[in-house]
Symmetry: C2
Subunit: 203 residues, 2 copies
DNA sequence: GTCTATATTCTGATAGAC
DNA sequence: GTCTATCAGAATATAGAC
């Protein structure tokens, strides 16, 4: 269970409020006053604890990104799971995560596009390429005599999981009518995506 | 070939500049001064021709969205092409489009998330469901005795095409090192995506 | 229609009391 | 550490001359 707001230090309260506001509105649209209000305190304290709006954003951005990446570390570096289990776990984990934090994917995509300077060197360049999952993919492709870069299958998996969430408003506009239909669709995909990934890997 | 800037009316010049600035920076980060500068004229003219920044954005947003959708209309409603040809055409068309207008997808995803009120009723609710492509998908699934919503395959196709582009900065951070590698990857996908889609449709 | 100058509001940041 | 009050600059919008 999440910690109660009242248990948090002032600094933590601000960071938590900033995370919420920045993640839902992005850097430019967020107002420092919104963050102060959300934290239940005065605007001046933001600049007392953090030097500026930019500094605060940088912290939120890095934490959001690391939160997102940590799932990759945990799941894709697990040497005890098979490639099929990894695909299952990845799909379920990220669908759960995005249902819980629906604004996270678009926030990260935007932040990286506009502010990638912030994290120069902060990310492990080869986190993907060195993973156990990537090794297993390579073996599997070799076994099936496929001359395709394993990275394609990582991209396919994340694409099929994440894209429908970020395109949700468009989907609602052109193909669905109720929120429940979208959730139903994503729960269908929870089972379908692993099947599809395994199929294109081996057929 | 695109029309020369000098041939455009003042109103068109502003709209063109607004499209460029809004599409690359989004509504909140865009400055009306940037737009005026980009159009090579004075700030006051923006408010003379369009009432406000919001109105101008609304126009740009709808035009961008319709530009994106028009490809769907053209390709997915073509009754002379087979389902396989449609998948090939869709992949090539949208990869070409996004290479030409790389900021368009993220702009649309953001705009729809934050400003979907702007286009209430402006979009054909069933543009996807009524398409010839959707009928062909339905037949194909029936032929292969699959009880899966055809919409999933539309989502899969667009996901595998568009997602790598919007995640390009992340990909560059965790798996690639040169821009040329990304372009190479997308050109590989140009051939691979149709194969994958047809495989999961039939296997 | 187009420009310069200016009004008005918003916003990030700070000064200074407590 | 926290608050109130306020500053300085930015940004949108408009007035008014040409």
């Amino acid at each position: 269970m999440a910690k109660q707001k009242k248990d948090l230090s002032t600094e933590e309260k601000i960071k938590e409020a900033a995370r919420k506001v920045f993640t839902s509105k992005g850097f430019a649209a967020a107002r420092t006053r919104d963050i102060a209000d959300e934290a239940g305190m005065n605007l001046a304290l933001l600049n007392y604890y953090f030097r500026s709006k930019e500094k605060l954003f940088e912290i939120v951005m890095i934490e959001n990104l690391l939160h997102f990446i940590s799932g990759i570390q945990t799941l894709l570096y697990d040497t005890t799971t098979s490639i099929d289990e990894k695909i299952d776990n990845l799909t379920n984990y990220y669908i759960d995560q995005i249902i819980e934090y629906p604004d996270l994917p678009l926030f990260i995509l935007n932040a990286l596009k506009s502010n990638s300077k912030f994290l120069k060197g902060k990310l492990n360049k080869n986190i993907m390429l060195n993973s156990h999952f990537m090794q297993q993919l390579q073996e599997e492709l070799k076994k099936n005599k496929k001359k395709i870069k394993p990275l394609h299958f990582v991209i396919n998996t994340f694409s099929m999981i994440i894209f429908p969430f970020v395109a949700r408003p468009l989907l609602m506009e052109v193909a669905l009518s109720k929120d429940a239909e979208f959730i139903e669709l994503m729960n269908e995909r929870r089972k379908l995506i692993p099947v599809w990934i395994k199929t294109i890997l081996r057929s």
